[in-house]
Homo-oligomer: 280 residues x 2
């Protein structure tokens, strides 16, 4: 029962704020922490959090679940800072877009059996508590990435947490997770930025974008600090995905330059079918 | 006054259908034509058209405005077929995504002074009359591309038509138009298809896409026949845009592989600012 949990959300940005709203709405006792006092106050006013975690983290001793919702490059350091203050059965989890770096750090700390990494495939190009909403995780795919040492109790608690929010939970490993999101999430974001830069360099105004051009450049307005951190913790897999996509793009360019228009028709027929495949 | 015009919409797909709905709603007498009887009947039922253009085009003699709303590779042939049936002061225009090919054909026919090409930057990845809606052109940028021979009367009538629909009209030349949309529209569509293909080839399921990955692959479900035709009529400019984007992507890959994460932060900071620039 999620209503019986005392849950600490560390970092009240878009995802942390949305998580706090959802959990409070379901009756959980939610406490919040942020290095910036503004989202803390906003979260209190929105009744997304009931109390504030003190800056030396001693309040965390009473939490049954702790969720790290900070940028992926800040999460390992934060995990190290809070580890000595956690109760013996507290589930420690996170929401970061990469899972290997945080999982590796958790394994070196006293929380190894209680840590289960999580990655909700939800969000927005906007950042901050102001963009947070109720129901962000309903129907969203959420990857749970336990290590070999994660306890059954911790895994069960993580599953219950996300099921309570209506998420579509998938179990995977940190390695498989990071390899997959390099293609399904990180590549699309970097591609959007590369497209925006290409259009700008060619001297065209962003107001000249049609609906398609707008939707393809929207992600180029994502948080620079967040994406710096994500790329830093998954650069090898991302570099491979970028190389694959550049090769695909070169193949399309060659097809266009050669004037093989039937191949363009076949390409869209193929991708249209792929996109229409039923969800497994 | 648009309500005094007799307007023939040739081709009742997404754009033609939306145009017919909007013009009928504003009191114009709209007649429709399509090689497929299904959208014709659907447009009659939706009261988007009042009459049907006969298959030998003699009805067109009574039209004051004729709008070609067929794929860009079919438009020149259709223009040739209808040219002998048009009245001496009828405005002939179109809605195609490329403007050089149709403009060049118009110049060789008897309609050269009465033709003004148009391109509304509106639409959707869905196709067909079923996807057409009222108000599609409200606030949308619409390029008008007259030739040096287009009459002032024809240009005024084209401007009035799009102003009546609430469009943001911009005058340009067919050459400048085609060079620009290669970057602002055609490149984003081909990039979306290349991304979908990259993710599929890497063995990942489309259900694994998060919100960002979904929005970046949505255009890959666009009409194959329409995109074959668009690429066919603008392949040189599109091949250049694809080469520019591949070079940009390779620069990003090289930055990631080198581990220069601050450059990734600078990239998103730059593109975020570019996207936030006020509309001129």
């Amino acid at each position: 029962m999620i209503a019986q949990e005392r849950i600490a959300i560390l970092g009240l940005g878009l995802v942390g704020g949305s998580l706090a709203r959802d959990l409070s709405a379901r009756g959980a006792q939610v406490m919040g922490y942020d290095i910036d006092p503004l989202p803390l106050r906003a979260a209190q006013r929105a009744r997304a959090i009931r109390e504030i975690v003190d800056s030396d983290f001693t309040t965390l001793a009473t939490a049954t679940i702790v969720v790290l919702c900070v940028p992926v490059d800040a999460a390992p350091t934060l995990l190290e800072a809070i580890a000595p203050h956690l109760g013996a059965t507290t589930l420690v989890t996170d929401v970061g877009s990469t899972k290997l770096a945080i999982g590796t750090r958790a394994a070196t700390l006293g929380v190894r059996t209680r840590f289960v990494g999580a990655h909700p495939m939800a969000g927005d190009h906007r950042a901050g508590f102001a963009a947070s909403t109720l129901g962000m995780f309903t129907g969203a795919r959420v990857y749970l990435c336990p290590s070999a040492e994660s306890s059954t109790a911790a895994k069960t608690k993580a599953l219950d947490l996300w099921h309570a929010l209506g998420a579509d939970v998938r179990w995977t490993t940190p390695e498989a997770h990071d390899a997959e999101v390099a293609y399904t999430s990180h590549l699309p974001h970097l591609l959007s930025a590369a497209l925006a830069r290409t259009i700008e360099r060619a001297g065209h105004d962003r107001a000249a974008l049609g609906a398609g051009g707008q939707s393809m450049t929207r992600l180029a307005a994502s948080s620079p600090a967040m994406w710096q951190a994500i790329v830093a913790t998954n650069h090898e897999a991302i570099a491979r995905a970028l190389a694959d996509c550049a090769a695909e793009l070169e193949a399309v360019r060659e097809t266009v330059a050669r004037g093989d228009m039937e191949a363009i028709c076949r390409l869209f027929t193929h991708t249209g079918r792929w996109l229409a495949e039923p969800t497994p």
